[in-house]
Amino acid sequence: MSNQINPQIVAAAELHATLASLKAEGYDFLEVLTGVDWGEEGLGVVYSLTKTATGEMTHVKSVCADKENPYLDSVCDLWAVAGIYEREAYDFYGIKFLNNPDCRRVFLREDWIGYPFRKDYDESQNPEFFLESEPISDKAVCFTLNEDGKVKKTETPIFGENDYVVNIGPQHPSTHGVLHFRTSLEGETVTKIDAHMGYIHRGIEKLSEGYTYPQCLGLTDRMDYLGAMQTRHALCMCVEQAMGIEVSERVQVIRTIMDELQRIDSHILFFSCLAQDLGATTAFLYGFRDREEILKIFEKTCGGRLILNYNMIGGVAHDLHPDFVKDVHRLIDEVIPHGLKEYHEIFTGNVIFQTRAKGVGVLSKDDVISYGCTGGTGRAAGWHCDLRKLRPYAAYDRVKFNEITFENGDSLDRYMVRLKEIEESCDIIRQLIDNIPEGPIQEKMKPIIKVPEGTYYSAVEGSRGILGVYLESKGDKTPYRLHYRSTGLPLVNVMDKACRGHLLADLITIGGTIDYIIPDVDR
């Protein structure tokens, strides 16, 4: 099974029309948009589209005509998520997207010089750190094309003159990391949110271009630290499939179990943090108490608690600990069911929580597809977006489980999806844990790993949604371009849509239930 993709090359002028026709064909979900610097060929973008009905994918590649002043047509009228993806490509490559109403920088400071992901970027242009605060502009930038073919820049104010703008973040207890919401309030009602990201942007994708493949693995765990196993699984799987390596059954099963344990860990932490955000401190500690049991299992086998470094290209790093099966049984048969019962008693059933979550931050199915909100957020709105069902990988094709979906798409549903998924994950583990096949835990690999020339895309179902890895190789020992489909970026982008018209306190609830991890958003 190869994961090589051969993007259909489309001229910049026909890009919008082609994508629109593809959307009409049923490719209604823009899974990922990757900016690439092809050197001589120029700057460009690869669009990866998915049919939500079947999970089938197609890829479209478009190169900017002008290298000095690159621009492409925006597709944010077709998919809402494209808006933020295009801002990301503009930030890293300087590709201007015409008619995108808000084409500002997204991760880097507004006074940053140069576009860091370009191959000819000079690092000495910017100081290592600034001590003066970032000049945050109040104006959204929109690029349009004049009749004479020149790009014109127009600026429109983001907030009205009389808006009461409150900064929530970057240092705020319930933004789950360093996220900055500039929120305009009408009384206590949120009228608009302008999200600023990049406070933890470490340039992992750019760093990877200078690292060998095993070195790149080290960075994946630090992106989504609550999906460390899954992110690393995605990259390992992408490289293995690109090189044509078949890992043993044993590795497949171990990876599946570990992914599910990680999912339980992540969802319990989701519960804890949501409880903390809503002021139920005791429920927060209950969640952490049970989470420690999972960490104990991880620690015995992997040696780490949070950053696990377990998956390797061609297998896993260590064999399972002798106590693994016993511990996991104890976890899924005693600790988790008991914990879940307590969570429901102390928090789910509580009338205050019910009224705070019901009908708050409703996202319809069309919204979540357009905004690309996968994972629990998508499934709460009734979108069947679970990759474990759509495009099964590892050992997911041999286990039976239900894809949890709800209909309303409000905060309560998003919460319930996660708690129900904990049960399903336990069920998956239960089917696998007693018959882990024998076999090698590591395939024989060459000392230097080189991926054959080509473009590859693999994705797994992370704790928070589809986690894709786009890999472009020139046959070297380092990747030419490595791009992660961050699970959190579309989720942060949807906050504005979900929070408008709700109260300030609801912003916390919605942010908590949408469940994003900032280092994963910023990379």
């Binding site: 750190f129 003066e132 970032e134 240092q171 992992i204 200078g210 630290y225 960490l295």
Partner: protein, 217 residues
């Protein structure tokens, strides 16, 4: 006030911690020597010790976390590791009320001014602990174009706690090291503000300019 003199055998010792354990910490030994250079005031020294007892056992951390270490920090506050035992009970969300800032995680170029400002907003006495490889030196991201290579370039760091992320035990050890450091400080007889008013110079400059302008007019 009391007479200033050297009392043989009296040093501002570190209570509650066996000296053997503390001996291998050369930095602190040096610090004590420096503090004792001018002699210890008889009346004030016990008061100092009392205040230091209070300060060291009531370090309220600021809830500040940028990435992975923050989750471990939450684990430290939670049931199994329970940092409330040591008096680090209340994590304050407002920098004004916090005593120690634990720099959990990578500090990027964009975050640096924010962190600096948070530190400036804290009230004295304030302490900094750099948690994890990223805060100490940039960690795995040293080569990045957008990462500050060590938080000590922006803030005066008191304790470094290595690890990626450090285990909760390391967190507790780092905070206990800070307690030791606090216990040998002086409250009386020296400047208690660790930091100059960042705006004082700027304001005096502005005032002078204003005066000049008025004179010219």
């Amino acid at each position: 006030m009391g007479v200033k003199k050297n009392i043989i055998g009296y040093t501002p010792a570190i209570n509650n911690i066996p000296h053997e354990e503390f001996k291998d910490n050369a930095t602190l030994e040096k610090l004590i020597e420096e503090l004792n250079e001018g002699g210890v005031n008889v009346v004030v020294a016990p008061l100092d010790r009392l205040i230091n007892l209070g300060r060291s056992h009531s370090m309220w951390p600021l809830t500040f976390a940028t990435s992975c270490c923050g989750i471990e920090f939450m684990a430290v506050a939670a049931a199994r590791y329970d940092m409330a035992r040591f008096g680090f009970e209340i994590t304050r969300n407002s920098p004004r009320q916090a005593d120690v800032i634990l720099v959990n995680g990578t500090i990027t170029t964009k975050m640096a001014p924010v962190l600096k400002r948070l530190y400036d907003q804290m009230a004295d006495p304030k302490y900094v602990i750099a948690i994890g490889g990223c805060a100490i030196s940039g960690g795995p991201f040293t080569k990045s174009y957008h990462v500050v290579k060590g938080v000590d370039k922006i803030l005066p760091v008191d304790v470094y706690c290595p690890g990626c992320p450090p285990r909760p035990e390391s967190f507790l050890y780092a905070m206990m090291q800070l307690q030791r450091k606090v216990r040998v400080e002086h409250f009386f007889g020296r400047v208690n503000k660790h930091q100059k008013d960042p705006y004082a110079e700027q304001m005096s400059k502005l005032n002078k300019e204003l005066l000049n302008m008025q004179e010219k007019a």
